[in-house]
């Protein structure tokens, strides 16, 4: 196995009295696609800023590409690509110019940056928008431009903080496709998300984070196997009747999760569970049998859903 490119041990970041990141430990191997999954305020972005060598840690050990960010910030950042949660492109510049000025920050010669910018515009499917103003781009295009900008130095690690938050489904899929290509090319990806499907699509391995702590770690499939059942039956009885119905569902499946608007029945066979519900004389308003997802893992671990 290759040496890890990121090693965090007991990483802590405290703001005034509150610990945003509370003794986080994890490793990321070269070429791996690693995810930090958690709700808003879990400490994901803070962790990303520390890994990105822009935020000084309060305590703990952190090594990025074998270097300590406290001492070698610029050397580390020279080898990273960063896609922040909020686009921070320069609106006063054209699309291509954003790449040109950014490439210079890495000490790249003008000619190299120009060639690279054209390749990346192609990659981000923005070639025909090269001369457009940033303000004229759609949300998805801005995201792709930000990703292209992050790749200008051909980084060894690409950090993506909620890359698809706020995008429509189509734009998300285009973005996922681009990220998947990078993964295939061997780029190490570290991303945060609160979207389950995104984590399942892109991550080889992930940690579930809540309140600055790691709740679970593993591949998406392993986490589901470990913390949830194979299938889930979702039944709704209307908000009034929900609690009453829940009492009568005891014993069906392996486990019940009663939410304000619906009841989740965890088990190996969702259809069989549904048949049992009907047999007990209950008539749900709606019912749905689906595969277990990371959302269920999170619910199991924290008792809360990921997107409030």
């Amino acid at each position: 196995m290759t040496a890890p490119v990121i090693v965090a041990r007991d990483l802590v970041k405290t703001y005034k009295q509150t610990a945003a990141v509370d003794h986080l430990s994890f490793e990321v191997a070269a070429g791996e696609s690693f995810g930090l999954l958690g709700p808003n305020g879990a400490g994901k972005s803070t962790t990303m800023r520390m890994v990105g060598a822009v935020s000084t840690r309060t305590s703990g050990q952190l090594s990025i590409l074998g270097l300590d960010p406290d001492a070698h910030g610029p050397e580390i950042r020279a080898q990273l690509g960063v896609v922040p949660q909020q686009d921070n492109l320069d609106n006063e510049l054209q699309v291509r110019e954003n790449l040109l000025v950014y490439g210079r920050y890495f000490g790249l010669p003008r000619r190299t940056v120009a060639t690279r910018a054209d390749e990346l515009l192609e990659f981000a499917q923005l070639t025909d928008r090269a001369k457009a103003k940033v303000d004229e781009l759609s949300g998805g295009m801005k995201r792709r431009l930000t990703i292209a900008r992050a790749l200008i130095n051909d980084p060894r690690i690409l950090l993506l903080d909620e890359p698809t938050t706020g995008l429509d489904p189509q734009a998300r899929h285009i973005l996922w496709d681009r990220l998947f290509r990078l993964k295939e090319q061997g780029t190490t990806l570290v991303l945060t998300t609160h979207y389950m499907d995104e984590a399942e699509q892109l991550c080889d391995r992930l940690v579930v984070v809540d309140k600055g702590r790691i709740m679970a770690e593993g591949s998406p499939a392993a986490l589901i196997r470990e913390h949830s059942s194979r299938e889930v039956l979702e039944v709704r009885f209307g908000s009034e009747a929900n609690a009453g119905a829940a009492a009568k569902l005891e014993g069906i499946g392996d486990r019940l999760e009663v939410l304000p608007d619906r009841i989740l029945v965890y088990g190996s066979d969702g259809e069989a569970a549904l048949a049992e519900v009907t047999k007990r004389g209950l008539e749900p308003v709606t019912s749905l049998v689906r595969r277990s997802s990371l959302e269920d893992v999170f619910l199991r671990l924290t008792g809360r859903s990921l997107i409030e």
Binding site: G73, P84, N88, E92, L93, F106, T112, R156
Partner: protein, 273 residues
């Protein structure tokens, strides 16, 4: 992956030239509004010199008090101060809007900081760009002044570096802008309660000695007064003892260095969150 690009990427080059890369970025962004800027840079001195140098000067010369008081024409008196003022206004604009744009409206300082650039380099780069703008503005202004016959001595051209120094003496405003986290039009306040009074009571359009003594202190603390007086020494002077001229330089340098270092400190802390 050790591609060609990764080999060329250089933290060392970035450590050395980072500030210049930021200035380069800002200069490129300037291209977008190059023409409006050019018209403003050339148009403003014409407007002011017509108003003060021709209009107001005629009135003053008729009363004949001014020349008696100062020994020179009103245009010659006011021109160096106008050049200094123009550079200051351009710089203040960058200290306020340029900084807040980078921290809040566009957040591109965060983008810069994610690259090898440090907070210090981002501030230095912004100041470098501000300096370039101030020199261009003062240079064009001086050319128009010369056209109107406002420069008396061949040394008058030194008003350009003096204007630059005075512009930098206002760098404390950049430190203040760096600390703003909520946009509540504080800049209107800065312009009206700080920059404007400093301009009006700094011996810009009339000698400071004309003010009652209890108002003259505004001039003494004002970089505009120090800058304008210094510029006047080279334009038609000397009119004051040499120690006072040296004091002007010292005061301006002190303001500039303190403001600059304060900005670096506040900006670096803000980026490291």
């Amino acid at each position: 992956m050790t591609s060609l690009i990764q080999q060329q990427v250089s933290a060392a080059r970035s450590r050395r030239w980072g500030a210049w890369y930021v200035a380069e970025h800002k200069l490129r962004a300037t291209r977008a509004f190059f023409w409006t800027m050019l018209v403003t840079v050339i148009g403003t001195p014409f407007l002011y010199l017509f108003a003060f140098g021709v209009g107001l000067a005629t009135l003053l010369t008729r009363n004949e008090g001014f020349a008696e008081l100062t020994g020179i024409g009103y245009l010659q008196f006011v021109a160096p101060a106008l050049v200094v003022n123009a550079a200051v206004l351009v710089a203040v604009e960058e200290y306020m809007f340029g900084v807040l744009q980078g921290f809040m409206w566009n957040k591109h300082f965060e983008g810069m900081n994610a690259s090898p650039l440090s907070g210090r380099q981002i501030v230095d780069g912004m100041f470098l760009y501000t300096g370039i703008r101030a020199v261009v503005t003062a240079g064009v202004y001086y050319a128009v002044v010369a056209l109107f016959g406002g420069g008396v001595s061949p040394w008058a051209v030194l008003v350009i570096p003096i204007a630059l120094l005075t512009a930098y003496a206002f760098s404390g405003i950049a430190a203040y802008s760096s600390s703003i986290t909520e946009d509540r039009s504080q800049f209107n306040m800065v312009l009206r309660l700080v920059v404007m009074p400093l301009t009006l009571f700094s011996g810009t359009v009339f000698p400071l000695s004309q003010l009652p003594i209890f108002l003259q202190w505004i001039g003494w603390i004002s970089p505009i007064w120090h800058g304008s007086e210094l510029a006047r020494q080279f334009s038609y002077g000397p009119t004051e003892p040499i120690w006072l001229s040296i004091l002007h330089v010292v005061v301006l340098l002190a303001y500039a260095i303190v403001g600059w270092q304060l900005t670096v400190r506040i900006a670096t802390r803000r980026l490291d969150k």
